[in-house]
């Protein structure tokens, strides 16, 4: 019998979930240790959905981390903004609730693909991409997710060489996932 959940995933949609799930499996986290928070009902409102739930998840994970290892993985597209802008929004969200800001090494992981998760999936699959083009309607993306997550895991290991073709938002995710170690 496995232990309780220790990784909570707050994601925009199913592709984000699948990418993180596959990454976590590769990291050795079993599906019994992962909790996927509900997805938003409608399409196109995912980032708002994640921001609205962020504070309460931070609070819950902090309370439990006092007793046992707990992590929160937040996956939210930067869309047409940039990664810093999205980080500011998340910081504002917890400030408004009177919560302390994220500390260094705390198990709260922000994965912020720019422009969206499809950019990362294609990039990790070796395709030349930029962060301004919207790749959401590209065909065949779903079939690439599992291998992309494995590539992400390999690149995020300590001492791994950072591929030169990674887009900036993907590079910024490497130190983020090391918060899970």
């Amino acid at each position: 019998m496995s232990d309780s959940v220790w990784v909570v995933v707050l994601a925009e949609d199913q592709r984000h979930q699948r990418f993180v799930r596959r990454y976590l499996y590769r990291k050795g986290v079993s599906n019994h240790a992962i909790r996927m928070e509900p997805l938003p009902s409608g399409r196109g409102c995912g980032e708002q959905w994640v921001r609205e739930r962020y504070s309460s998840q931070v609070q819950a994970c902090r309370r439990r981390s006092a007793r046992a290892k707990t992590a929160l993985v937040v996956v939210i597209d930067a869309d047409t903004g940039d990664v810093d802008w999205r980080l500011r929004q998340l910081r504002d969200a917890i400030s408004q609730e009177g919560l302390a800001q994220r500390k260094e090494g705390e198990g709260i992981v922000h994965l912020i693909p720019r422009r969206n998760i499809e950019t990362w999936i294609l990039c990790l699959s070796g395709r030349a991409v930029d962060e301004d083009t919207d790749y959401r309607c590209e065909s065949g993306v779903d079939e690439l997710i599992d291998d992309a997550a494995v590539a992400f895991f390999e690149s995020s290991r300590i001492n791994a060489t950072m591929p030169t073709y990674f887009v900036p938002s993907l590079l910024s995710a490497i130190p983020e996932v090391r918060r899970l170690d």
């Binding site: 019998m1 909790r35 509900p38 938003p40 009902s41 409608g42 409102c45 708002q48 599992d146």
Partner: protein
């Protein structure tokens, strides 16, 4: 993969068309036709693959009450190996008292005939669509069911093999026993023959056994393994071994809790059917399963679909399943008062700040 099913004049399914995707959650109120869909799929599988005659299904009594039409029509479409199969069966009442008979039964591949059974006469075609044989047969059962695989009917046999691997389940732990009086090739819809089906599975495809054991160790505390204990001539009893603090204890399958039996059934389906590329319809699979175990099973199911390209149609009212699958994979069966059922994609208000299950609970997903 099943790509389309058409049903006309069966319960609340009138001119009903449904095009499922690889992974789908079927939502809908009580009486919206979800179970009827499963029943039709089960009927077709038993009729075409196992050769069960019409007389065992009481079909005529299940014709749509408010219509006065004699025929029941069903169509199945499947994409297999890059080609499109279309199977069509028209059932008519014949004689007095009326009994159901096949008015026509046909199978096409890419629009060309592989098989025709019309007015009691069978026309067989080979893999190059050339007419091979014609003969008469009793329309009380499927003529397609009688066709034996041969070198020149591989396309037709492929369709039957696929349909043979299509299973529907409405799991009932109370009906399950430990006794397996032989190997059973096909599971019953309630899995009352789980022990005998499991006995067949571990003989026919032993490879998934290790994965099943690992999954069950994750979700059932102390679980060690399943085994089939000999019990007289040709009879085996399914039992589970548990280990606690260096001590082992064995329980017969019927001695396990309802939830444990369901978990064993669900992971058996996952590893031995879906992970092998098979297709299943599961009607309320979460019944009896603890809340803690639903999402891990759902995740493992998604993994299996993604890796094996199997197909899963879930029928569920459970918030845990709705919250995970409805936004991307949800369809709703809708039935206006006293009318026929139809299918719509689950589409909620994109600005809604409620989880999908809460929208369904409020009936707001329909607005």
């Amino acid at each position: 993969m099943l790509t389309r099913i058409y049903i006309d004049n069966f319960r609340c399914l009138v001119n009903f068309e449904y095009r499922p995707r690889r992974q789908e959650l079927i939502l809908g109120g009580n009486g919206s036709g979800k179970s009827s869909l499963l029943d039709v799929l089960l009927f077709l599988q038993q009729f075409i693959v196992r050769g069960v005659p019409f007389d065992e299904f009481r079909l005529l009594a299940q014709r749509t009450r408010w219509l006065d039409r004699p025929h029941i029509t069903t169509e199945l479409e499947a994409e297999l190996d890059g080609g499109r199969y279309v199977y069509r069966l028209v059932i008519e009442p014949r004689g007095e008292p009326a009994t159901p008979r096949a008015a026509s039964e046909t199978l096409c591949f890419e629009g060309k005939s592989l098989f025709e059974f019309i007015n009691g006469e069978v026309q067989l075609f080979d893999d190059r669509f050339e007419r091979k044989a014609a003969y008469e047969l009793d329309p009380a059962r499927s003529a397609l069911a009688t066709i034996i695989p041969r070198g020149d009917n591989q396309k037709l046999s492929r369709f039957k093999r696929w349909l043979g691997s299509f299973h529907g389940f409405r799991i009932n732990p109370f009906a399950m026993s430990a006794r397996a009086e032989g190997e059973e090739l096909y599971p019953k819809v309630d899995l009352s023959n789980l022990a005998a089906w499991y006995r067949h599975l571990v003989q026919a495809i032993p490879r998934p056994s290790a994965a099943l054991r690992e999954s069950l160790r994750e979700c059932i505390e102390g679980f060690n393994f399943l085994e089939l204990e000999p019990f007289g001539e040709n009879v085996r009893l399914l039992r589970a071994e548990f280990a606690h603090g260096g001590r082992t204890t064995r329980f017969y399958f019927n001695e396990l809790s309802d939830g444990q039996r369901c978990l064993i059934a669900l992971y058996t389906i996952l590893h031995f059917v879906v992970a092998q590329g098979g297709a299943v319809v599961l009607d309320e699979p979460e019944n009896f399963v603890s809340l803690r175990e639903i999402q891990p099973w759902l995740m493992a199911l998604s993994d299996a679909i993604e890796e094996s390209h199997g197909q899963v149609l879930l029928v569920s009212h459970h918030p845990e399943i709705i919250n995970q699958w409805a936004p991307s994979n949800g369809v709703r069966f809708i039935r206006d008062i006293g009318g026929a059922a139809r299918v719509e994609k689950f589409q909620a208000d994109p600005e809604s700040c409620l989880p999908p299950a809460e929208l369904v609970a409020r009936g707001w997903e329909r607005e």
